[in-house]
Symmetry: C2
Subunit: 150 residues, 2 copies
Amino acid sequence: MQKALPDFDLDLYLPYRLTVLASRLSAELATQYKKDYGISMPEWRVLLNVGYSDSPSIRDIEKHVSLEKSKVSRAAASLEAKGFLIKEMDATDRRLLKLALTDRGAELLGELIPIATAFQDRLNRILCDQEPALRHALDLLAENLDDQTL
Amino acid sequence: MQKALPDFDLDLYLPYRLTVLASRLSAELATQYKKDYGISMPEWRVLLNVGYSDSPSIRDIEKHVSLEKSKVSRAAASLEAKGFLIKEMDATDRRLLKLALTDRGAELLGELIPIATAFQDRLNRILCDQEPALRHALDLLAENLDDQTL
DNA sequence: TTGACCTCGTTGCAAGTGAAACGAATAATC
DNA sequence: GATTATTCGTTTCACTTGCAACGAGGTCAA
């Protein structure tokens, strides 16, 4: 006689739910960005951060948009090759790069953002008035996950 | 003079928030499962589904745990090689497999589940009373994302 | 100013991934 | 019942990923 397994419902298991939903949401935009603009998700995050920060370094971007530095480095190299950004050496600390959008990069970002905004608007419509509650829950998790006392 | 970029706040952008949080949550357990049991996330999902379904096929698992069939196939092959499950041919439709846990597989699953449950309990503590609201929001998104009218 | 140590961005490598193609088995159509 | 389509699980292939190592630059203290 087998010992019975404890009950377990995957649909109540948050790591699973979040993983599945996150990949569905991301795939939605990723497909369009790749198809229409040839831009990957890491490249999109790098574009965003370079567009909204003041000459960030690779390390700055790594911290701000939760991308491994190797991903940031490769995305930046790819964006540079396509002419969307330029890398400049920081004169005061020559280990650092200063990234900046080219005109074409700014133009591209100006097209990508409305698409993301429209998608977020659609998600908000789906959520009705639940969006603040969802964000609050995500904030709770993000802030307290490292708290070992919980 | 550059045209100004529209405002955009990554932290309010759900696909980003979910992706980052999901990978943090999953990494937490993935590391432990890999280190202590040599089990990957795809293998964990396959184990779960085989444990709680009646001799599912590869395709059944693909549908139930949101894993590509190639991932399911590879995870099942790996679990079989480690002696945690067996593949049997379905007699009535010889294209199908019937997967079942071995005793060792059931034993392993019996150890993995309490770890996942404890983690979910910890998440619920962090969320305080917000867990139902979070699940409701996730349900809304999951159910309506394909609805083109929204 | 030399030596030990740290940080930066890049890259080599092994492992994982998704999409497409594949052979085998079944279903559907005529 | 022969032909065509479809489904199943596997595998191939090109690509991405994460990690560790690396060289170059910087910091600090003896």
